[in-house]
Symmetry: C2
Subunit: 250 residues, 2 copies
């Protein structure tokens, strides 16, 4: 008489996590660390990356780092250093951002959610997996996944990343951590961008940081201006610190 082997379909709702783990295994095999970079539309993810990739590998002229920066790690002083970066650009459609990054001679893969995925407002693990054959994992140390501009759904889908960071523009107002807490909670680093606009806004940085602390007291933050370059070197240093992480911490 044969024993019946019962397989209980547990966690079937977590197909995304299963695929994220498969992505993760591929990244680990290739020795690639991965950052999932998120933000609202127009917060400046692409501008920040442009600036970090253009400036990041230079040595700091002086003691360059974000004023009041609480994020970091040993790598900040060297910016991106020798880290080889690749970018996966998530957009509903078009390749405007990918073209901007590609002009910096960085390997870029465009992933559009419109054609195959119904115009999704976020990347999920399966979409990222579908793009992996086009990502030169053997040639890079760090893959930056620029997610679709959206403060809600991207936070709900892990894609196999080592670290999650978000960009929040001061032009968006100081209430955003309270209105989109899941996103702010999901990230270990909050890059506060467009600080060159602070003199022209009714934005209380103190209030923003207090709100951030309420929803995610463990988050680090950096003050940057992708426009003036202030603080960008520190962001590049944070990217390098992720690239040098030994252990995976999904």
């Amino acid at each position: 008489m044969h024993r019946i082997r019962v397989s209980v379909a547990e966690g079937v709702l977590d197909a995304n996590d299963t695929i994220a783990a498969a992505n993760r295994a591929d990244f680990d095999r290739a020795g690639v660390r991965v950052v999932n970079l998120m933000s609202a539309p127009g917060a400046g993810k692409t501008s920040l990356l442009e600036r970090a990739l253009a400036d990041g590998s230079r040595r700091p002229q002086a003691a360059a780092s974000g004023r009041d920066s609480s994020a970091g790690g040993g790598a900040v002083e060297d910016g991106l250093g020798e880290v080889r970066v690749g970018v996966l650009e998530g957009d509903v459609q078009g390749s405007l951002d990918a073209e901007r990054i590609a002009s910096l001679h960085v390997p870029v893969t465009q992933l559009n959610t419109a054609p195959g995925f119904g115009g999704e407002c976020h990347l999920d693990a399966n979409m990222v997996r579908s793009a992996l054959p086009a990502v030169p994992l053997d040639e890079i140390d760090l893959l930056i996944i620029e997610n679709v501009g959206n403060l809600v759904c991207p936070a709900e889908f892990r894609v196999g990343e080592d670290a999650r960071a978000m960009v929040s523009s001061v032009a968006e107002g100081e209430d955003k951590p309270l209105k989109y807490p899941l996103m702010f909670r999901a990230c270990e680093l909050v890059v506060i961008n467009k600080i060159d606009l602070l003199p022209h806004l009714d934005f209380s940085l103190e209030q923003f940081l207090e709100n951030l602390d309420r929803v995610n007291p463990r988050a680090s933050h950096l003050l940057v201006s992708a426009r003036t370059g202030e603080g960008v070197h520190a962001f590049a240093g944070w990217l390098a610190s992720v690239a040098s992480r030994e252990t995976a911490a999904v």
Copy 2:
């Protein structure tokens, strides 16, 4: 012998449109016109409404209207005039915006997508329908539905509105119509907000308008600053013009 009556389940994917039509019938019965107001997070929907509701019913001091404003209609000169406005606030969670509007003594209903709807990144017709019993339709002429901050999904779900408008902040960059064309196409009015920041940004208004024209040549636009009040009276006039529309145009 009996004839078999065949009912083909056509358009079953359009449950949303069916419910939107039901909402619409309720609005029409009450003589209420409805605006679906959308934007990215932090573009300034609530600030704009605050300002329009506070200033809107005043007569213009001078020839107040947005510089270079192409939207309008006869009602612009009078702002909101005697129009009685109600607001339905869509948020993932919290009631920060609703509290801001309520302080202006405008009837506000808060609709959160997190508890019952799984933290949805948009409002759909069914969510709006669930909130209607709490909206005093008999006491208002115009219902403004402030959607969840998101440039992707809200554009895909009609909720029974007469008009769709969006707010686009100049701080978000001039590429937004090209990156989120569905949203820009869905709206008859694009309110270009935060124009007080123009001197401090690398933002080409001309390029933005060219991009908008590429994706939606029929859209009107208004230049406003919810902060300084510039152009807000014209926006209030547009709201009044929707309130005075005779026929429904879904």
